[in-house]
Amino acid sequence: MNRIYVFVLLLLLPLNALAITADEAMKKSQAAFLYPGADLKARVMMKLISKGGQERVREMMMLRKNYGQLGGEQKYFMYFFQPADVRNMTFMVYKYPGKDADRWLFVPAINMVRRIAAQDKRSSFVGSDFTYEDISGRNLEDDAHAIVKEEKIGTYDCTVIKSTPKAAEMEYSYKLSWIDKASYLPIKEEYYDKKGELYRVFSADEIKDVKGHPTITKRSMKNLLSGHMTEVSFLKADYNVGIEDSLFTERYLKQPPKRWIE
């Protein structure tokens, strides 16, 4: 009898170990993708490209600071350079794990700071193919993660993980992530709709080492249904630049300090 137990346990063990590994891998991926450094300063260029090839450009300085542990609270400060009608606008986000973020927008033409009502899961970031959630991360506990296979993409040895949302509210039924075994960065992500058809693809197009952190400096998100895509490049990026807590306040939202936006 005992032997059978041991046998069953042995059978179960690798499966359990794998399940833990999927969660672990996603946690490490989130840390590598969204949390490297104590803070980040990046000049970001977004190109929104329509099916017909028409381009719109959004350019901003993104400042991010981590609070607490990995996977914990983060604050974002964004200053827009382009397009002309949003030039000088600033945008601030306090992101909390497990609940909706606080967001403020500063409109310079009328010198007004306003809270923005937006939900992470289904809000496009500045009209791009990226949602707020794609930019600042999704709560890992909202999905069940499982390792599907291992696969090589280009030179990257990847673990492929299937993440299925636990709640039915999401527009996708599951997501496949190709996580590089060395850097834990997502090399590719595929989103499948309720019918199980692929409709959205993320890809990391350039990875560079910035202060010892492998960083995706070019990425894209393509919507296969509309043919629209968004390319994001970091024109400049730096970690551990010493962003003060005071930056993330109404005062500096209204008057962004020159040294943080140049």
């Binding site: 719109r56 002309a84 606080d102 010198n111 809270r115 289904r122 496009s124 009209g127 005071s246 005062r251």
Partner: protein
């Protein structure tokens, strides 16, 4: 210390045509103008200079005007900063319903279909910001009073209780530093809510009329009664959206007993607002606003015969819906103010489309109505208009 200079601005055409009837002076347009704006900014830390100037040609009055919209110098230190010059200040949490935003506004711009930024007028003054730690302060001193701008009687049909009296003169508040306007805002985060306290001491920006003879007036003097405002606001995330609360006590210092019919009664004002995203790129905003007259019986007793009698509680509800389409390059919006007390309304639908990253066009309308021709929006019932805005920005 290297100075960093930037130059931006726009070229804009802005037109607004009557849809119901011609203007009082016979014209068909509320607005027809071409405008150029230049924004010049120079920074050499800790100093910054900003100048925003407009030059425009008014096709109705056939003249060209240059105006300084903003022009100020900033000095920034670690715990404080100061801004001196012409500047726009926006306080409070209301959406086009103002309690603690006691700063000057241009309602003609709003009612005739100019871009929203033209609703706000700059003040000429000094703003001191103090950031010692737990609480932040904004202190504003304005030596020269700036009134609101109301619609031009040549272009807008409006209610005027003394319409027959055309002999009018305007009396500015005392033009000396002794009677300068002062305003204070203290703010901080309280349990995740942006919380502010406000104080204002100055003058009502809406003129009151003083007849030289109450029985048979021959001349009216327009003046700006003394006013103080004490208020508070909170705004934060609640009920899956953003909740806003604001209140203010309007202390009509020249008529605390409410006995002078020509000066507004003291009031308690309050506002509740809620904003929520219902689906992708669609936001709904709702507001409820009230003004409660403090000395109502004195007001009723002293109201001259023939003057419309206000209700003690004046209530307004508003709705704003915004839908972005085509990767947020197209915006449909609809804003409505409805007077719960007087049954009057203002409707403002608008479509805005960014043709490219530097050119946008907006087309919209202003529709006014209500049974009472003296009510806030009902008086503009003949002023419905359709407007267009075309802007190239660089």
């Amino acid at each position: 210390m290297a100075a960093d200079v930037s130059l931006h601005g726009f070229v804009q055409g802005n037109y607004s045509r009557d849809t119901k009837t011609e203007n009082p002076d016979g014209g068909d347009y509320k607005l027809s103008e071409e405008r150029v704006q230049l924004k010049l900014e120079g920074t050499a830390d800790p100093f910054r200079l900003f100048i925003k100037g407009d030059a425009f040609h008014d096709n109705i009055d056939k003249h060209s005007i240059v105006e300084l919209r903003e022009g100020y110098a900033d000095y920034t230190s670690e715990k404080w900063d100061v801004r001196i010059g012409r500047q726009v200040i926006t306080w409070g949490v209301g959406d086009l319903l103002f309690i603690n935003d006691v700063f000057p506004k241009d309602f003609e711009a709003f009612f005739s279909g100019r871009p929203m930024e033209y609703l706000k007028k700059g003040i000429d003054g000094v703003k001191l910001g103090l950031y010692p730690g737990r609480v932040n302060f904004e202190i504003i001193a304005t030596p020269y009073f700036e009134p609101n701008n109301y619609p031009d009687p040549n272009r807008f049909w409006m209610f005027d209780p003394m319409a027959g009296r055309t002999n009018r003169e305007t009396q500015d508040p005392y033009r000396d530093l002794h009677e300068a306007e002062t305003a204070l805002r203290m703010y901080r985060d309280v349990a995740g809510f942006d919380t502010s306290l406000y104080y204002y001491r100055g003058f009502s920006r809406q003129p009151s009329m003083m007849p030289d003879d109450p029985i048979a007036p021959t001349k009216l003097t327009l003046f700006y009664p003394e006013l103080s405002v004490y208020g508070a606001s909170v705004q934060g995330r609640a009920l899956d959206g953003v909740l806003s609360l604001e209140t203010g006590y309007y202390d009509s210092r020249q008529d605390r007993h409410g006995a002078d019919p020509m000066i507004p009664n003291s009031q308690m004002r309050y506002l509740i607002g809620y904003q929520r995203q219902l689906w992708e790129d669609f936001t709904l905003g709702l507001q409820y606003y009230g003004e409660y007259l403090q000395e109502y019986s004195a007001y009723v007793q002293n109201l001259p015969p023939g003057f419309p009698q206000e209700k003690r509680l004046h209530q307004i509800a508003s709705v704003r819906i915004t839908q972005f389409l085509m990767h947020q390059t197209m915006r449909f919006s609809f804003f409505a103010l409805y007077g719960l007390s007087d049954g009057d309304y203002l409707l403002n639908p608008e479509v805005k489309y960014n043709l490219t990253d530097s050119i946008w066009v907006a087309i919209g309308g202003n529709v006014f109505g209500g049974d009472k021709l003296w009510s806030q929006f009902g008086q503009f019932a003949k002023d419905d208009n359709v407007y267009s805005q075309l802007r190239y920005e660089y």
